[in-house]
Amino acid sequence: MKKCLAIILIVFMAMVSVTGCIFQSSGENENKRFAGDNITFEYPASWVIAKSQANDTIVAVADPKSVNPQTGYAQTLVVIQKRGLESDFYYMYNQNYATLFNNSNYRRVSEGNITIGSLNALENTYIVTENGVKKKHRAIWIRRGYEVYVILCSALDSEFEKERANFDIIINSFKFIE
């Protein structure tokens, strides 16, 4: 009788736990949504909202599995920043990258115009090498009125292509809330 009860107990606990795991794993297939500060976008369910130490950050999302234990910072992430427009959008863009590529750690990969939904944007892809670590960045600049929004996608150079689908989830779902 006691053995029977113990078996029932174990089976019951396993059932509840497995149900919880299934529920969790099923949730991983769906995207999460961020909405705030006049913007909204979807991001992978396994990612989390991260604390950004960069200025002008609206929100940052990151893959918690990519946290570097030595530095404590996530390496696969998307940061969305906002700044007031300085005279001209293109001037501001060019000024920023002229300063950036003046530094030998920064190397331009590509740049061009893209369309996100109904929004025209500028895209700049570059590689940063710091302390022997190569990181690839894809920055998308969007002008909205007198404000400039930048979606910065970042990952280790070796991981960037793998994460492209996750970055696209965020970029393609990015919208302004009226």
Partner: protein, 193 residues
């Protein structure tokens, strides 16, 4: 009336027994028997009248009541014998108690399992969201970095551009201070007068 009839029947039985045992004389026996039978006859007549009037009466014969009394006595004796000689074994009592205890333990364990299992499930569910506060990022689309030059230190990047634009704003002119009024000279005093 039934009670009285039964009483008379019982007396008649006793009378028969006494006569057989020789406890009573033949004359007295005949006399008592005649009296009882007369009374019984009167009761039967009364019952017949009642039946004719439509009142309910006991239709059961005397033997029925005697049999019933016998059955009751037998049952009572059986019960006494069972109580006296047939005892419930101790281990049977114990198993009954232990069964009840096990039922209670089972219910408690199931409730515990439910709460522990649910708690564990929720723990697994919340495992991912707990990481939210721990993840830090330091990447920026507008990075600032300082390079050391032999002549001076420069800070590159747009934040410096932002800051310098504010610092270059002209400072508002200072308001002039009002001139102090000259003091009136004191008149000299004539000592020669």
């Amino acid at each position: 009336m039934i009670k009285k009839r039964n009483e008379l029947l019982r007396r008649l039985k006793e009378l028969e027994r006494d006569r057989q045992e020789g406890k009573i004389s033949k004359n007295r026996y005949n006399k008592l028997k005649r009296d009882y039978e007369r009374e019984l006859e009167a009761i039967k007549v009364a019952e017949k009248i009642k039946r004719m009037q439509g009142r309910s009466t006991s239709e059961k014969p005397l033997d029925h009541w005697i049999e019933k009394a016998k059955e009751e006595d037998e049952n009572r004796e059986k019960e006494e014998l069972v109580k006296k000689y047939v005892k419930e074994p101790a281990h049977m009592k114990k198993t009954e108690k232990s069964r009840k205890a096990l039922k209670v333990i089972g219910v408690v364990l199931l409730a515990l399992a439910f709460f522990i299992g649910s708690g564990f499930g929720f723990y697994l569910l919340n495992l991912g969201s707990k990481q939210t506060d721990n993840v830090l990022v330091n990447e920026s689309a507008f990075p600032t970095f300082t390079i050391n030059n032999t002549t001076s230190n420069y800070t590159y990047g747009t934040p410096s551009y932002y800051n310098t634009s504010k610092s270059n704003e002209p400072t508002p002119p200072t308001t002039p201070t009002t001139p102090t009024t000259p003091t009136t000279p004191t008149t000299p005093t004539n000592s020669s007068g």
